[in-house]
């Protein structure tokens, strides 16, 4: 249906809104693997609300940070619930992001004209992981302190920009109270802003460019009420799930950061443990370069796909193999680290 700008301008606002929310979405969004993109968004909203709530009690100063998190967890009324929701939502957000990325990769949904969606998505993926890291640092227990130390030194290994970047993030050559304040600022201001912009970009590109097309499933249904109601139902289901997880596994806090002693049982959160295991088993420089090259390949994958397709490679099969290997390697490293 072709509409000119004049026609749209003539319509009253109410009709324009109705037109907008009743935009057609393809029928394949009905299957669960294709609406995995909305789930991280739901978790993000929960994390954002609980995160803002916690800033009313958290003190980003090295001598007070740990105490304030402890107070949130055990003294403040419902503090354990808010912190628990924050933690669970972030964990599930990262988990569903992984699923979403794998699905997009396997179905090659980044193909032209979907490249921009992929770039926004990759940006979202890394920003979310950065949120995970900075969030962990704020607790200021042993995992936070030594995690900060190790990650800052890893950043410093990036060629050319690494050293100044690490210096800037740390606010000096050692992890200190300046570092905590900087990571707090990143976690509560700059990264959320970036995340919201990227989410906006991701959604706007999908609205403008349309969803990926799947052969043989060309039917459509309106976004509202059909799809919106379904996503709403999923959101309610996920909320129930989160509340249950928080009540069964309330948040805990490790021993306080001690710059003089590395605790022997310090382990990163599960989504970093594959990388952690990787840098432990592989020689240092190749391991870090491996991560860097993986990230660059990940970001530019739509172009790599196009390049190889033009040369007659069966990318569908290659992607299934690549995807399976990546998922298995991630799972194997994670489990190995847990042993």
């Amino acid at each position: 249906m072709e509409t000119t700008i004049e026609e749209i301008k003539e319509k009253p606002l109410k009709d324009r809104i109705i037109d907008f929310i009743q935009k057609d979405v393809p029928d394949h969004l009905d299957s669960f693997s294709y609406c995995m993109g909305a789930t991280p968004l739901i978790f993000f909203l929960v994390a954002a609300i609980t995160g803002v709530l916690m800033t009313f009690y958290y003190i980003p100063y090295s001598e007070k940070a740990y105490e304030s998190v402890k107070a949130i967890t055990s003294e403040i009324y419902l503090g354990w619930f808010i912190r628990g929701l924050h933690k669970v939502s972030i964990n599930l957000m990262i988990f569903t992001l992984f699923l979403h990325v794998v699905r997009v990769f396997i179905t090659r949904a980044y193909k032209t004209p979907g490249e921009l969606k992929w770039f926004f998505g990759v940006g979202l993926f890394f920003t979310t992981l950065a949120m995970g890291f900075t969030g962990y640092s704020l607790v200021y227990d042993q995992v936070s302190y030594w995690g900060m130390t190790v990650v800052m030194n890893m950043i410093a290994e990036i060629p050319i920009i690494g050293s100044p970047l690490a210096y800037l993030l740390r606010g000096g050559s050692e992890v200190s109270e300046i570092t905590l304040l900087r990571l707090y600022d990143l976690h509560t201001k700059l990264l959320p802003l970036l995340l919201v912009l990227l989410i906006g970009g991701h959604i706007v590109t999908i609205t403008v460019l349309g969803f990926a097309k799947i052969e043989g499933r060309e039917g459509t249904h309106p976004f509202y009420p059909d799809h919106a109601m379904k996503v709403g139902l999923i959101a309610i289901g996920l909320l129930i799930l989160m509340v249950n997880i928080v009540t069964i596994f309330p948040p805990t806090i490790g021993p306080m950061a001690d710059p003089l002693e590395v605790a022997s049982n310090v382990a990163p959160p599960w989504y970093f443990s594959a990388v952690y295991k990787w840098i432990t088993i592989a020689p240092r420089q190749p391991a870090l370069f491996g991560i860097l090259i993986f990230s660059i390949v990940f970001l530019s994958y739509p172009f790599i796909d196009r390049f190889l397709t033009e040369r007659g490679f069966n990318m569908e099969r290659i992607n299934i193999v690549f995807g399976a290997v990546a998922v298995l390697a991630f799972a194997a490293l994670t489990l190995w680290n847990a042993l």
Binding site: I178, L260, V262, V266, I279, T280
Partner: protein, 148 residues
């Protein structure tokens, strides 16, 4: 939606380009200033000899961790004499511990291993433990460390 403004003249293009260049420089300079504001203060390294004990205090088998002027060290007798090792792992900056049973320095973060002489013998560390200069004046032992 077609291409709009495709009839731009050379004069107009050059003038716009010139303006854009100026704007870019201006904003770039401002951005640089913002970045400079965030850059931490550069401190001049100052080394100082700090008294850590007397020679008779240090037994052959003793390996004691100590903190002098924000620097964490191990002071011990190695095969080549009295040494002060930094406890900072040369891998990614965790603190090494002395494992008495294995007679080795172990980094708990990524399982780096150093022998008694500070040499990296296993795991990811790329080089031996950093050393600080040990100065002996009579009975007294001083370690030269960086102070803030």
């Amino acid at each position: 939606m077609g291409v709009i403004n495709d009839d731009i003249s050379r004069r107009k293009f050059l003038s716009s380009a010139f303006m854009a260049l100026g704007l870019g420089f201006g904003l770039g300079a401002l951005g640089l200033r913002f970045l400079q504001f965030l850059s931490p203060k550069v401190t001049v390294d100052r080394f100082e000899e700090i008294l850590v004990g007397s020679i008779s205090d240090i037994q052959d088998s003793d390996i004691t961790p100590m903190e002098i002027g924000n620097v964490r060290i191990f002071l011990l007798k190695t095969d080549t004499g009295l040494m002060a090792f930094s406890r900072k792992c040369t891998d990614l900056g965790c603190l090494v511990n002395w494992d008495k049973a294995r007679q080795e320095f172990i980094c708990p973060c990524h399982q780096g291993v150093y022998n008694r002489n500070g040499k990296n013998i296993a795991g990811p560390p790329p080089r031996p433990l950093d050393r600080f200069q040990v100065v002996q004046k009579g009975e007294n032992i001083y370690v030269k460390v960086r102070v803030a």
